[in-house]
Amino acid sequence: MSGDDAKITPRNLAAQLSYRGRGNPPVTHPSSAISNCFPGLEFDFRAIWRRFLVGIVLSENNNYVVGYEDEKYKDLVGHRLLKINDRPMSVLTQGPVMPGRGPATLSTGDSPEAVSFMEWSNTIALLVGRQGTKVRCEFTKEAAKLEVLPGNPDVATQTLELEVRQLFERDEADGASERLALLAESLAKPGELSQGLCSPWQNDYRECACYYWAASRPDYVNVVPGGDGLSRGDNWMQRENTGSYIVDNRDFQSSLSYDDLFKSWESVLRFVVGGIQEPPPK
């Protein structure tokens, strides 16, 4: 029997995590896949962050105060939350710009200070143990439309004690207080848990410029190798399979538009079987 017919079954967690089913591309593997965990398909994890601190409302993906629940925090709206218990909510973004050169600071027009704001999700992990207790929150003293790097000596700050919300409902039966596997009602207003969910077929496939939605969906189809070492094929977003690749510059004449997808994603998105997107080019 050849090695190709071998049947192995991963048994412990470690083996299951590393396991790659036969025929699956490397990106199906949890460690190498680029997949979305937020916004998600079933649950948008960012919904936890919005009302994580009692009294204020944060942007769902950022340290920006967009609202308040408690009158006394009214003035914080428009300010940035810089640190919780001395831990920064955002960090400097650095990365390669030119091949062969060292990493550089990556600033943009929207973020001249090159701020990566994603630290909030790490922060949640570190603060889940502090539910119901007060933490020290450092905000900008003034409203700040642009991102601010925590620790910037030129930015005046103010520190307030806010409470980390109880994320889960509790059952107080029989004198004992037990945490239930149910998100606390105060954590989200009606609609908030679902309003950020993905709608890949209508939106995200089109939206995502690097086609990582979804990770295991081939974006280069009908590929035929050429004698010159190059290949010919179609961009999966092309209206017609012609066998010649059209660069997707969002000219919606030649590639699918948002409208197409919203109206009839079921018919314009096509199946790919064995690398061939139906109907194959003539």
Binding site: M1, A6, K7, I8, P10, R11, L13, S18, N85, D86
Partner: protein, 455 residues
Amino acid sequence: MNRTAQSEMTSGFAEIGKPKFSDVHLLCTGRQGHLFLADGSQLFDLDADTFAKFVAATNDEEVSGLLTKLGLTTEPRRICDEAPTDVPVRAISLAIAQKCNLGCTYCYAQEGDFGASPKNMSLETALASIDLLIGQTRADESINIAFLGGEPLINRSVLRQATVYASEKAAARGQKIGFSITTNGTLVDRDDADFFERHGFAVTISLDGRAAVHDQLRPFKGGSGSYERIIERIGPLLGRAGRMQTTARVTVTPTNLALKQTLDELLGIGFHSVGFSPMLASPTGRGQMDEVALQNMLTAMIECGQKFERKVMAGERYAFSNMTTALREIHRGTHRPYPCGAGGAYLAVSADAELAACHRFVGVEAGAMGSIGAGIDNDRKNAWLERRHVHKQEPCRTCWARYLCGGGCHHEVIARGRPACDFIRGWLHYALQAYLRLGPEGLDRAFGAKSRTAS
């Protein structure tokens, strides 16, 4: 399964389980063949033909070819040759009293004082050690303080003041802190139970078996038995089922090998769990396990394990801690290049404020790591981690169990070498089989549904 594969599998059976390859270990449960992959501690079921090919392989190269075919080789390997450097300390132990009221025949601390004059740790040293630990860590990292000796309760007042100091200091910065104590149990009083409960101590009592056996191995210095006294003293601890937990640790010597009786008796008394460890190196050589004793111990451990399997499947709790630890580690696929945190994230402080790789290296030059006054000697620490990496150990480098075992207790290895490898591998071989037999359902019963996610 075809006939050839079956006969190949049966003919190879006697060999299966013996250490043969450095990257994989083969095992069976009933007729099902399994493969344990050292890299990443991964465990698989194999179909009969594939299993037969591994059984028929004669060297590591052939095995490597088979693994590649199955898509099970990864480059780079999960554990590389390079040792971690400047590992921050997260746990310390305090040799709060380097003296003891017992005269255990095999004690590594030579009846508590590590072969020097008996002494207590001063409050000043204890507090400075805590400052050092907390100063090293961020508020969002959890830390641990272990009180060891000698017999730590001889110096109760410093122990308590240090605990209160550490909890308050940690609480002030919102840091999680855990406490543990290993005690011979003879000096425990009712008040201690309240104190341990309040601070959520993990209490370990050293007990070596039932009265007659225990008294022979762990008498008072005057020679009289300590068992009755301990059982009477620890009563209030066992009654507690809140934040604190009391477990029994049995040091196994050639004279107390009746493990199953010991396990049942100690669980019967009310210990939260019971674990065994073989006496591999004692300063005088007394009580050390030889090859035959280790073989007998393995048989006895497996007996206890089989009882654990039966109990679990019947839905009963049976807190045999060697088994629960092994199952947890196998489940997660624990893989590490060291046996423990000694000299890495864990350091010990001696009564006179010297730092050592662990509590057993107190006063031993090989494990010196600086002092509370002068600070942690990071060069020595880095050199230690470099030297002690399992890839640098023989014969560990090529042993399939290396990332579960880590190369064996540094202290014992330095003192005596590695006499217990067959025991270690035999136990892991059995534990892997038990894990596979229990399956998801058994694991849920043993650990609750939580075990299915890495808890």
